[in-house]
Amino acid sequence: MQGVEHDPAAILAAYRARRRRRGMILLGMVALGIAAFLLDISTGPSPLRLWDVLLGLFQPDQLSAPEQTIIRQVRLPYALMALLVGAALSLAGAEMQTILNNPLASPFTLGVSSAASFGAALAIVSGISLPFVPADWMVPLNAFIAAFASVLLLEALARSRAAGMEGVVLFGIALVFTFNALVALLQFVASQEALSQLVFWTMGSLGRSTWGGLATLAVVLAVVLPFSWRAADAMTALRLGEDRARSFGIDVRRLRLFSLLRISALAATAVAFVGTIGFIGLVGPHIARMLLGEDHRFLLPASLLTGAVIMALASVLSKVLVPGVLLPVGIVTSMIGVPVFLLLILKKPTRV
């Protein structure tokens, strides 16, 4: 009703307070990320104290040689990879959910990860190489191409009126099944050595974290992030509806195209080095949205952070769930992902 008592200055002040609160939440996530990271390093077959971990990172000479090796050569790359993979997948998921206008979209649920695995499997089994490409880059490169192609397919479908959003989800599920079947076929015809490499792809693992892979993913993230940030306002407007966003002057086609480039770069690179990891790309953005709403200037950084935290915690769990055994982290994310996902579905609508 008109004339309800309210004070514009108070409303603006309340908005600023809300914005500050969101900033605090983001800072809290950063702190949580650091804590999870340190916990990840201290967890493993030989448990280390937090103090040793800090020494190992900043003053390694104070530790014994074996402890130095464990922290710096073994656990540090794992833990860093966990953060980066989680961040990359979650950011990709956030952009996918907005660009494809589908809350169920993620690199995993819509088959992008499966396509990447197929691309990687093809490279592994066929052993082909391109003239100017170093042999150990063929696998990630193939994974990237396959992932990009699948994202383009999804986008073309989302744009065609016939399919609708349900069509996109169904098509994504079809992609998952198709590519998984193709990977199984490749496993069947693969040689022994290729087979063991292939199986790795079906359960994402941080075990192969190399400094090269880490550096590559870090570079991809560093390149993608500024562009992602610049598109934040356009993505927020896109949430209000495509016709509306276009009428506000946003080139939605261009927005989608570049977003898809970012999504495939992030998802494909992440998967290329650690294999298929499920649920992070789906759950990370949802948690971020529940806490901070859909202003993408907050949602995108928050998705990055939630993804990183969840992966770090999953990495910890992968080490402690079965004593003495390092579970592939992809198995852990799937196991905790299902109940978390159900919880999300059952919860009340998001707060702003």
């Binding site: 008109q2 309800v4 008592e5 309210h6 514009p8 409303i11 603006l12 309340a14 908005y15 809300r18 206008n101 809350p103 306002d233 356009a234 927020t236 407007a237 949430r239 209000l240 509806g241 016709d243 509306r244 966003a245 276009r246 009428s247 506000f248 002057g249 946003i250 080139d251 949205r289 709403g293 859909e294 202003d295 609508p349 998001t350 707060r351 702003v352």
Partner: protein
């Protein structure tokens, strides 16, 4: 500003088939409210979207002599804003963030605004449409009528010269129908905006517009003041219903009796 809007030989297709073809209309005048009425599939939404630059079209749409269709979308959007029938469901944005989003999407005329100034301007528009007390509420938590006012606030924030409303009141209760219509008419006059709105309710079209354009099967069947454009002949020919239209002082009384065989 005394720029008029001219539609000259506009043509647009849908699914390969032409929906409107060679459509021309007498100039629209700033401060005027025009209703676009007609049966379903007449091409009303296609026409509106073509005017907004959202649907590929041939022909010319001139605002003050400048052909909008020849402009890139970002420039077209400075003059024309299209308001779809409804906001999407499940959007975790507040009313204020929605309007701020409209302002941030692309530059509107005037100097670039700081964040604080932008939020202040957004709140002004929200107050203007009368839901200031709901500025911080989530779009999901509003009633249907309030959502439509929030939607209108987003469009108005961009200060368009031409405001295109696609069935703005179809899903609203009587109170909000009238509230939206009053607001639209008042703001058109105050801001010198040209409003073109697709409506289904003939009585509302007659009461709240200066001009009525009747569209059927992609052709203009009538165009003029409500009393001229809405007639028993139009009811029969376009809507296939039998009815009576009488001028009663300032009001137009429309009575529908039966469908025609």
């Amino acid at each position: 500003m005394s720029d008029t809007l001219e539609i000259d030989g506009l043509g647009a297709a849908y699914g390969g088939k032409p929906v409107i073809d060679g459509l021309s209309l007498a100039p629209f005048v700033p401060g005027s409210v025009t209703s676009l009425i007609g049966p379903n599939a007449a091409g009303k939404t296609t026409l509106l979207r073509a005017l907004a630059g959202l649907h590929p079209a041939k022909g010319a749409v001139r605002l003050g002599g400048r052909d909008l269709l020849a402009l890139p979308l970002a420039d077209h959007a400075r003059y024309v804003t299209y308001m779809p029938q409804s906001l999407p469901q499940r959007v975790a944005l507040s009313v204020l963030e929605g309007v701020a989003g409209a302002l941030r999407a692309s530059p509107v005329d005037g100097p670039a605004l700081s964040d604080a100034a932008l939020m202040g301007r957004a709140l002004e528009v929200i107050e203007l449409v009368g839901i200031g007390h709901k500025a911080l509420a989530g779009l999901d938590h509003l009633s249907g009528g309030q959502r439509q006012l929030a939607s209108l606030a987003q469009a108005l924030a961009r200060s368009p010269r031409v405001l295109l409303l696609d069935e703005p009141i179809s899903a609203l209760d009587l109170y909000y129908q009238l509230r939206v219509m009053k607001l639209v008419q008042r703001l058109a006059r105050e801001r010198g905006m040209m409003v073109i709105m697709v409506l289904h309710d003939l009585a509302i079209a007659a009461r709240w517009s200066d001009r009525v354009v009747v569209l059927a099967e992609g052709r203009v069947m009538a165009d003029g003041r409500p009393a001229e454009a809405i007639s028993a002949g139009v009811l029969a020919e376009v809507y296939k219903v039998r009815g009576r239209v009488e001028q009663d002082g300032a009001d137009l009384r429309i009575a529908i009796d039966d469908i025609l065989p």
